[in-house]
Symmetry: C2
Subunit: 257 residues, 2 copies
């Protein structure tokens, strides 16, 4: 199915009913989606791939994309910061780290480029942060879909990934926003349903969930939302470093699937 | 002794002989200055104080200095980033975190303001990053002292601190430079002797040592020195986040003294 076909298909979907009833259940101890904490998800020699949208992309160099462990290839965001923490902190692990996030992308666009930008790289650890455009572009009238589309597309992408790479360790990152900049009341409660859908996908696959929204909800006690992400969506270096810390901490204390 | 007296005193000191012979012994596993790794140095209810020079200061607001856990009071550098990681990651710990670094300061200037900017705050955990100005201002002719001055002053400051606050947990941070910007060959090998002096002080007090130079020596394999600190001395947000990660990691895995 091409992107155009997919867009048409999406447009034919009836608007799903967004339910916020189960949202209270999104807790902060989300590393515990996997029962127990028996060590790092990352092993020596692993290939780690960060996938997502602009938050992951963060200005990475396209010509350098195939150079692992290279700052320009990894961008300036949380993916690079997490990579730097891992590479510098564990030089003996001989990790190979890539970033293939692309600004503006939604789940179906990841699916469209999944063969070349994920499966062919054969990651041992695959981190996915996707969802904010799936709602943002809908709110701005650029994309005709619902949270059900997001949920269905994400589950399908994960199923496809596990079929092609049965041993891959999945890391599902929670979509997040800060209530400032471009993010106003129109985003809620639907945005919470996107978060719940990402958590559901992590639970379905018994995989790690990185609770970025819970983290930022705590962070705004110490500095205003704009400090962490001026437009409410794209993290500042301060937001990105907190994400990198959370990602590394969660992945370091997760049990292998 | 006032600052002026102290400067005069320093000027009377004979130039010490800088030895680089023991520098190879500065290893990367420096958290192991303390034997064993039995848990975090940080306990519930602790007051944590970051002390140092401009690298610690990082634009912190002087009027807000007495507000703990407050971004403006903590600046924009590694101290704030480490504080944010701790505060957001461990809300149940009820930590109280201050920053009292001041740009341009050398050890004797910390000593001059130690009562009000350290002892009176009664920190449970005290982190000190100092030394780069002790050599830089000497190289630029603004300060007449040697590495022996640094070593003597630092040991005296730590002894005074432990006398006033016997239960304080000390965290000695390794002074560091990146070989770019203001940092040229004139800095070496003397700068290595400053690092060794800081490590010696940590060993003398059986305390934690955070190996920032070793960390940056590894970091430049993945991005050029300028990426981490444009002028070779003051970290970029990328350098600061790596420092915060290293600080939190080291302190989290150190055994109580």
């Amino acid at each position: 199915m091409t992107t155009t076909d997919r867009r048409d298909f999406i447009k034919t979907l009836a608007l799903g009913t967004v339910s916020a009833t189960s949202l209270g259940a999104i807790d902060t101890a989300s590393a515990e989606v996997k029962a127990g904490h028996a060590g790092s998800l990352i092993s020596a020699g692993d290939t780690i791939l960060f996938q997502g949208d602009s938050i992951t992309d963060a200005g990475r160099s396209r010509p350098d994309a195939d150079k692992p462990n290279h700052q320009k290839a990894l961008g300036n965001g949380y993916a690079w910061m997490a990579a730097a923490q891992l590479l510098v902190g564990m030089p003996d692990k001989n990790l190979t780290i890539f970033n293939r996030g692309i600004s503006g992308h939604k789940v179906f666009q990841l699916a469209d480029r999944w063969e070349q930008d994920c499966l062919s790289l054969k990651p041992d650890v695959l981190s996915i942060l996707i969802g904010v455009n799936d709602i943002w572009h809908q709110l701005s009238g650029k994309y005709d879909a619902t949270v059900e589309t997001y949920k269905t597309d994400l589950l399908a992408l994960l199923k496809r990934t596990k079929k092609a790479l049965p041993d891959v360790e999945l890391v599902i990152c929670e979509p997040f926003v800060l209530k400032c900049g471009a993010v106003d009341d129109k985003w809620f409660p639907e945005f919470d349903a996107f978060r719940a859908a990402a958590k559901h996908a992590a639970e379905e696959h018994h995989t790690v969930f990185v609770p970025f929204q819970s983290m930022f909800d705590e962070a705004i006690k110490y500095a205003p939302p704009e400090h962490w992400a001026r437009d409410g969506v794209h993290p500042s270096p301060f937001g990105a470093q907190l994400m990198a810390h959370e990602w590394v901490k969660t992945v370091s204390h997760a049990r292998h699937a």
